[in-house]
Symmetry: C3
Subunit: 210 residues, 3 copies
């Protein structure tokens, strides 16, 4: 389990950094800006999680995580112009989904281990998984994509709830982690495959009015 | 005093979450986005205050505060379309003003108890009271309304100064808290009633030029 | 050395606050907004650095730093309309460059003293020096200027690397600090003098295509 999880985490760091860097290239940021946005997409969620848990961020202490993020940035710089709409490529979407699962699990696990209640477990899973993308969007002058119609951060919410529910019924941390990661992957895969998105309040009202 | 304060805090959490969620609905955010923006408006100021004071945020440890925020979000989803310009309704403005008073007081109190100087007491009162709204505005792709012409965050500054001044002359914490809350309510009430706003530097220069 | 450094730090606080306040005046923010943006430009980088290092921010505990920031804001309010394009005036650019050098050095030094690896030393130098400007830009509804074509944050990166390299070869903290500050000043001076900017990825590709 631990090895599989480390692999997922590594894939996620590269994938997130690729997506962030590709968006910054699209906005014609300079190479420093592309690097910052890519690294923040990969490490920003975990950094925010650590700030909320009152710890020195892991990202400042893990040269390996930084190296993987820089690898994702480099891949985007070298390859993004060979792809149409590069951050929607199936390989990129898959790496991103694996990262979403790995980062949700880490966030939920650390919240649970800190003895925090269910809201905090779910919030830390979501911040860890989707916080980097939200910070990047702000740095790119966009409103965070996770707050508009989609089915992305919702997968982290589902994963956090799954982790918490499994921990409540007394399974081991490994099983709860596996359940969380699988729930996120399943939700994200279904969401992409079926084009799911959450409704707006306006959409609810229109439906009620019919 | 403590009971009255807990009631004010609860009203403020519901009111702030309502205002934030109403703005996110206006921007056609999806229901996840509406929830995040509403909850951040209610809990974001206190969370930032706790990060600055180097503590695990109270918001992650208080299911009650989360529940009150979600209540405010739910109220906005259900009722905002019955109101024209919902977050300006007198009931909403009143709940928001009560929250401004309660949150300013908490921020000033914690700054004072941490033994920090007057700037920090005022800054923590202001961040606690107005930080959630500022974070929400950034999440909505707007510049923070508190930095443009209005008389909103200024009420928290006045409250923070009142708390610090009362504490300096040696009154009890309860009296300083009551003084802070009353100063904020008075300033905000007068500000709304008389349409106060702070001038821009340009306005000063035009006046000097006449 | 220590005295020279304190003077550089003081000049930087005034200069950064002037630049931030001048930008907020340009955007017609009210006097509260101008003060917040100016103070955040001066103190926001150090505050973020302290959050990352898990310490109560120095800015909340140093009335002197706050006073210098308010002095910079006041100078901007009084004088900015006598200058065309005030935050590009040679005196302002010089004060800003001195601040960039002083703040990079403080960030690198604290990262080194916390026993963190090279990425963290460089990241803390950069956040400390360029973070305040980035936060201000977000508060002004702009994308952070440091991420677009320029040669500004790059100077802090160079300074952080210089500090780390000097510390690796075993020189004293004073010498590493002086080396860092000089590297930043030299890089920034050359950057301004010669109109340096970092390329975009698109610019690289165009050059390759020729």
């Amino acid at each position: 389990m631990t090895d599989a999880f480390a692999v997922m985490n590594a894939i996620g760091l590269v994938g997130f950094a690729f997506v962030g860097a590709a968006k910054a290239i699209e906005e014609r940021y300079d190479v420093f800006g592309v690097t910052v946005v890519g690294v923040m997409t990969a490490l920003g969620g975990g950094t925010t999680r650590d700030l909320l848990l009152n710890r020195v961020p892991n990202s400042l202490q893990s040269p390996g995580e930084v190296a993987l993020s820089l690898l994702g940035v480099t891949a985007a710089v070298l390859f993004v112009h060979f792809l149409d709409d590069g951050h929607q490529h199936p390989v990129v979407l898959t790496a991103d989904a694996i990262g979403l699962a790995a980062f949700s699990t880490t966030g939920a696990l650390l919240g649970q281990q800190a003895g925090l209640p269910v809201f905090a477990v779910v919030a830390l899973a979501t911040v860890n998984a989707a916080g980097g993308g939200a910070i990047s969007d702000l740095l790119l002058g966009r409103t965070p994509f996770i707050l508009r119609e989609d089915f992305y951060a919702s997968c982290a919410v589902i994963g956090g709830l799954a982790f918490w529910a499994l921990a409540q019924i007394g399974v081991s941390v490994s099983v709860a982690s596996a359940g969380c990661a699988l729930a996120v992957l399943l939700a994200r895969g279904l969401g992409i495959g079926r084009g799911w998105s959450l409704p707006t309040v306006q959409a609810w009202e229109r439906r009620d009015a019919q």
